[in-house]
């Protein structure tokens, strides 16, 4: 029984090695397959591509030897040594370059996780098991076709399940199907009214906003709903005095031309007439809005929030809609 199982293992290991070598030896795409891998750190960026190809050739040779007759114990011993090497490489990658990509079976970036080790362990076990094999996998499948095919399928399924690179084959389609059948966020629209972001968008597309945008100093300070209106409050400065800009936005409909604005003096509480935008010089205006820019220029810097990679600057396009006066294109 053990010898029968052992005889099947070369096919599994060989198939995995052949697939892996095909990925490494395939024509180079736009991104080098070594980018972001621990291999580049281990042997140097310039030698990494050659090291990866060499590894691909070794995998191709050993994979072909395992799958094709004759059955030689040295093949399984070589596979065991290779799998031990892979596990050592994974340990090195995890310890020295934790953010690195495995680069094992795909050019897709996939970090080294417990799944990588589980796959390495599984293949190492299969390689050790294959050492005493005396007959070809073809003969073993021939003697018990159903059991042999079943065992190989289970083992292959385990390898695929432990391969993060192959998630696009099965895990993503499964998740897509699940979301299509019953979307977990389907109820979000029923629970809440129009989001603040939508009101800010309306404000920023309104003539009222264009007339006072260069006076605004802050992002939204506070907001509240008043019947059919949503009130948004910004801090502003007008003629050297601290003022408050109050926008009234239609709450349940998108109608930027209906947005109203008032400026209120902070000290006296009296409304101030906003200036007539038609009298403004556009050159002066654009300079001023640039000066008062908020997120538009601040996101051009690297993010301070702990891990700088958490911030993908710059904030542009739709993302800038959320922000303050800096993002506005007046005139």
């Amino acid at each position: 029984m053990v010898l029968w199982v052992a005889a099947l293992q070369p096919l599994l290991i060989g198939a995995v090695l052949l697939y892996s070598s095909a990925v490494k030896l395939a024509p180079r795409r736009s991104r080098p397959p070594t980018s972001g891998t621990a291999l580049a750190r281990l042997v140097g960026e310039r030698r990494a591509a050659w090291a990866l190809r060499l590894l691909g050739v070794v995998e191709l040779t050993l994979g072909a030897a395992l799958v094709l007759p004759p059955v030689l114990p040295v093949e399984a011993v070589a596979a065991t040594a290779l799998m031990l090497g892979f596990l050592g490489y994974l340990g090195y990658a995890r310890a020295v370059v934790p953010d690195s990509s495995c680069g094992c079976m795909s050019t897709r970036r996939s970090p080294v996780t417990w799944r990588s080790f589980a796959r390495g362990g599984l293949l190492l076990g299969a390689a050790v098991l294959a050492v005493p094999a005396a007959t070809s996998w073809l003969d073993a499948v021939g003697t018990r076709p159903a059991a042999g095919t079943g065992l190989l399928l289970v083992e292959a399924a385990a390898v695929i399940a432990f391969s993060a690179e192959l998630d696009t084959w099965w895990l993503l389609p499964l998740r897509r199907l699940r979301v299509r059948l019953s979307h977990p966020l389907a109820r979000t629209s029923r629970l809440t009214g129009p989001p603040l972001d939508s009101s800010v968008d309306q404000v920023q597309h309104s003539a009222a906003y264009r007339s006072v945008a260069y006076l605004l100093r802050s992002d939204v300070v506070e907001h509240w709903d008043e019947d059919d209106w949503r009130i948004l409050v910004y801090s502003a400065r007008y003629g050297g005095r601290a003022t408050t800009a109050v926008f009234a936005v239609p709450r349940l409909r998108y109608e930027p031309q209906a947005v109203r604005v008032a400026l209120v003096d902070d000290q006296t509480g009296a409304p101030v007439d906003p200036p007539d935008p038609s009298k403004l010089d556009h050159n002066t205006l654009s300079n001023s809005t640039f000066h008062e820019g908020t997120l538009a220029d601040l996101t051009l810097r690297s993010g301070p929030l702990g891990d700088a990679s958490l911030n993908d600057a710059p904030l542009s396009g739709a993302g800038a809609g959320r922000t303050g006066p800096g993002a506005v294109n007046v005139g």
Partner: protein, 201 residues
């Protein structure tokens, strides 16, 4: 500052009518030159903008935040009633905590303190792929690293194909690219989503 409710009533009346309009000329010239006269351009090419600060909050005393920048520059940032504070939503200083990250913009005072006009706390802007969708959570792949993005009912909005944001997140699909604006949970890989920008078809 008047009572918040009175203030809100006053501001609502000002914008929706019901309050007498005082002539703007009572406060001086309406010419744009006058409005801009107080704001000299202080940023110098090649130098750090003095009116901007970023970093992690190390202390909060009264209305002053002690902040250590990512370049280890220390900032003192004064927050007033007129300062807008964003932490997933417009909020107040009492919701800001030591350890939070921030971006602040304002005017540098003579003593080096930044009088903030606007503060964005823990704001992040990510491009990612949706790995999975759960109940009130998106699992994102950000350059190979997992990010847990929480949906906050009543706050989280989605903007599809660049159109104004809506509360409906049911058009998000697994495997699609998204841009997420959100608030980071300090020292973790978790964020709360403010707005998610996605394609829908």
């Amino acid at each position: 500052m008047t009572h918040p409710i009175d203030r809100r009533r006053l501001l609502t009346a000002a914008v929706l009518g019901g309050a007498g309009v005082v002539g703007a000329t009572a406060f001086g010239s309406l010419a744009p030159e006058a409005a801009f006269a107080a704001d000299d351009l202080t940023a110098q090419a090649g130098l750090a903008d003095p009116n901007f600060a970023e970093g992690r909050i190390t202390g909060i005393t009264g209305g002053v935040l002690a902040v250590t920048g990512s370049d280890n520059v220390l900032h003192r940032i004064r927050v007033t009633d007129a300062t807008s504070i964003w932490k997933l939503r417009p909020t107040t200083l009492d919701r800001v905590a030591v350890g939070d990250g921030l971006y602040a913009r304002g005017a540098r005072l003579g003593d080096g303190t930044l009088a903030a006009d606007a503060v964005w706390v823990n704001i992040v802007n990510l491009h990612a792929h949706i790995r999975a969708i759960g109940r009130n959570v998106l699992s994102l792949d950000h350059r190979g690293q997992p990010i847990v993005a929480h949906v906050v009912p009543g706050v989280t909005a989605a903007s599809y194909n660049g159109t104004p944001a809506v509360a409906d997140l049911s058009l998000l699909r697994v495997g699609r690219h998204v841009q997420v604006l959100g608030a980071w949970h300090p020292d973790s890989n978790e964020i709360d989503i403010a707005t998610v920008y996605a394609a829908a078809n």
